[in-house]
């Protein structure tokens, strides 16, 4: 699977990672190499094989849905790059 620069640009947009124009071509080559290499998995017949998402066979346990934490505004906001009052501040999203 060979990716072109336009596809890399689209993936980078989906991932919200700014990639400088001059990097696109090089990245397309690198990603194509990696995808070409993983392509060997298609040799294996996996019809009827269950996909494994976790090695952990145990069923997730249930707990009561109650508040166990909170009221800790300053600790929650302590690492915010920008804070306004009791909020995380971001660029304007609604015109």
């Amino acid at each position: 699977m060979a990716l072109d620069a336009a596809t890399v640009k689209r993936i980078a947009f989906l991932a919200r990672v700014r990639v400088p124009e001059e990097d696109l071509k090089g990245l397309a080559g690198e990603l194509s190499n990696i995808l070409g290499w993983v392509e060997q998995l298609s040799e294996v017949d996996t019809d009827g094989v269950e996909p494994m998402s976790s090695v952990n066979a145990t069923i997730l346990s249930m707990r009561t849905d109650v508040i166990t934490d909170g009221d800790d505004l300053d600790r929650v906001l302590a690492n915010a790059p920008e804070r306004e009052g009791s909020f995380f501040a971001v660029p304007k999203v609604i015109e």
């Binding site: 991932a15 990603l31 993983v38 998995l41 269950e50 494994m52 976790s54």
Partner: protein
């Protein structure tokens, strides 16, 4: 005391502390001095000497009252900078976590702290634990304390390279690592120390910066098998805050090391003999079989037919999970923020500036294999291969108790090599990734020096949650290998 304090193993230091021959403050001061003296290794991102001395003094007070918390009480350790530590900068070696000071403590480091361990600092690693040479860190590469005759600086392996270098250089006797595809075991082998990855679910992942959540597992790095066992006992345990944390008891792993492996069945997988492996690594592997046979074990050839697909499977699953996990770095709640005219632009600018090239590569690969139209062809296909790889091990473990392989296909290479070819770098983990995919415990034991004088490791894999057998077999290998060589930077040659 015959040895310098920083040279003691955890078990030896624990005895000296218990006997009153040494205080934790003395031991910790020796560690801090060694850390300062070895700054050229770049093993630490953050040093925490004041905090360490404070906790060491508390340990001495506890001991004075006859309230020692156990064999880790008062022992200086290093912590991979992927574990969140309350009030102490945590970077994951990434620019994007600039200035992040967690308001909470990871479960594993909290467990170690309850056991009395004294953190001396946070160690360097590959950015977000993505790498096999500790060269992708925003904070620069770590140097391996070992040197070959050519005198060139070598990589310590990765991603837990700073932890491996710190333990190898006798800065401390133990350190935490995390292993997703080999990140404890491969640096263990490169630095001539023991690196142990527990069964997935044995140690809590809560508070560990996530890379690939279905594979990540914290584990101990130390200079002896016994120390690794002591440390794991302190780190492990069920944690309700991690839904994948296993509800299993934590045995006293060190006590399970009986020294007797008579009748143990050791599998030697044919598929791990790959073209291009240096002859001396093959010879070490044969030697390992002989050591175990001489100790009374039985070695049998086994087959793990899907081995060659483990690495490409890993390089779909891990980047897919990483792209999802790393979505949280958006410049809003913590870390770096780069300005942008819109919210989307701020996200993209922040992530473009904050992620290094290897992380960016994996985020893009992961995004691609999870995107509409490619999800089944790549991601689901890899998950199916994962089932087959896990089944191979399940079949093998009907026949054998442990599996013996080399840890890595080479010894430590020169810093700067293999940078232009990601796949060549990925091949470092060819022997460690399959066990990760199956969630199995594995351990690397220093076994020999290669012709250039660099350490090589032997790797054992065991059944899920059978770390006791893993440690028992590893201990037998350690006894037989009698690896007493020291890195150049320590022996002063």
């Amino acid at each position: 005391m015959s040895s310098a304090p920083a040279d003691l193993t955890i078990a030896q230091a624990a005895s000296a502390l218990a006997a009153g021959d040494l205080s934790s403050v003395e031991l910790t001061k020796a560690s801090i001095a060694a850390m300062t003296a070895a700054r050229n290794l770049n093993a630490f991102i953050t040093e925490t000497p004041e905090l360490a001395l404070e906790r060491a003094a508390e340990s001495d007070v506890r001991r004075g009252h006859g309230e020692s918390a156990g064999p880790m009480d008062g022992i200086p350790i290093a912590v991979k900078d992927l574990f969140c530590t309350e009030g102490v900068l945590t970077t994951a070696a990434s620019h994007i976590l600039d200035g992040f000071v967690p308001p909470y403590e990871s479960t594993v480091t909290a467990n170690l702290r309850s056991a009395g361990a004294v953190m001396i600092g946070k160690t360097n690693l590959d950015e977000f634990a993505m790498g096999s040479a500790n060269v992708t860190s925003y904070y620069g590469p770590v140097k391996n304390p070992w040197r070959a005759a050519d005198g060139k600086d070598r990589v310590p392996g990765g991603s837990s390279g700073g932890s491996a270098a710190a333990v190898s250089a006798r800065i401390c006797a133990g350190a935490t690592g995390t292993d997703t595809g080999g990140s404890i075991r491969q640096p263990g082998a490169f630095c001539g120390i023991v690196g142990m990855k527990p069964t997935y679910g044995r140690c809590s992942r809560w508070g560990v910066v996530a890379f690939s959540s279905s594979l990540d597992q914290p584990g101990p790095m130390a200079r002896t098998v016994k120390d690794s066992a002591i440390m794991l006992t302190a780190m492990a345990g069920h944690d309700p805050k991690d839904s994948t944390s296993a509800r299993v008891d934590t045995p006293d792993f060190a006590a399970a090391m009986t020294g007797d492996i008579r009748g143990l069945k050791v599998g030697v997988p044919a598929e791990y003999r790959i073209d291009g492996t240096p002859a001396e690594i093959d010879a070490m592997w044969h030697q390992g079989e002989k050591w175990l046979r001489d100790a009374g074990a039985e070695c049998v050839p086994i087959s793990l037919p899907h081995t060659k697909y483990a690495l490409p499977t890993y390089y779909i699953v891990a980047p897919a999970e990483a792209s999802s996990n790393l979505a949280r770095y958006d410049g809003v709640r913590y870390g770096l923020r780069m300005p942008g005219a819109s919210l989307d632009e701020m996200y993209a600018n922040t992530r473009g500036a904050g992620f290094g090239s290897e992380v960016r590569r994996r985020v893009l690969i992961g995004t691609y294999v999870l995107s509409a139209g490619y999800y089944d062809a790549y991601y689901v296909k890899a998950q199916k291969l994962r089932t087959l790889i896990a089944q191979d091990f399940k079949m093998a473990f009907k026949q054998v108790d442990v599996i013996l392989t080399p840890t890595a296909p080479s010894s430590a290479f020169v810093i700067g090599e293999r940078l232009d070819d990601p796949i060549a770098m990925y091949l470092n983990d060819v022997f460690t990734v399959p066990a990760s995919i199956a969630g199995l415990p594995g351990i690397s034991v220093p076994a020999a020096l290669d012709q250039s004088g660099l350490p090589l490791g032997l790797h054992l894999i065991a059944r899920p949650f059978d770390e006791a057998t893993l440690f028992r077999a590893a201990h037998a290998l350690e006894q037989a290998a009698n690896f007493t060589a020291r890195p150049v930077l320590v022996s002063g040659l």
